[in-house]
Amino acid sequence: DMKVTQMPRYLIKRMGENVLLECGQDMSHETMYWYRQDPGLGLQLIYISYDVDSNSEGDIPKGYRVSRKKREHFSLILDSAKTNQTSVYFCASRRNNNQAPLFGEGTRLSVL
């Protein structure tokens, strides 16, 4: 079953705490993405991963880093979370550039 799985689905953290968002896919897709979604701003690209240990900044990478040690797994890390990082985070993956990315169900993060 083609699926992108995100964990956790909901997360509440205090300002200054570290945050780990995890994403997995079972399709052996090379390319994976992290987006954040905010009202009126749409889906903004944080990071792209082309394959294991091959990552590139997206449009809004500040305050985030990523890790991809296995093709099927892509993590988003917030070191010392800030209140303005409260958002819904989506992971997506695709096999090649003429395919549309397949999205996970999202993680709703609140930083208090």
Partner: protein
Amino acid sequence: GDSVTQTEGLVTLTEGLPVMLNCTYQSTYSPFLFWYVQHLNEAPKLLLKSFTDNKRPEHQGFHATLHKSSSSFHLQKSSAQLSDSALYYCALSDRTGGYKVVFGSGTRLLVSP
């Protein structure tokens, strides 16, 4: 760089009326264009994708035509249904092999009885 513009933040319609959501884009090369639909508290899901030829993609009664001359990929449906109420995103992917997928800011469609 590549960009996608959706001019309407909110579109409100009465059930049965036609739907048209606007999407224009800027890209150095002829990109692939997509429409996604997102219902409340769900993931964005692919609705339509542009073809390499002139075929018009259709799904769930929605269709979109890629007009390269005007750089547009507007989403249309002849008759809106209550279940069409959702957030719609237009997106583009560079055809040359680039990995980036750029999304517009989204249009919320509200269909009332």
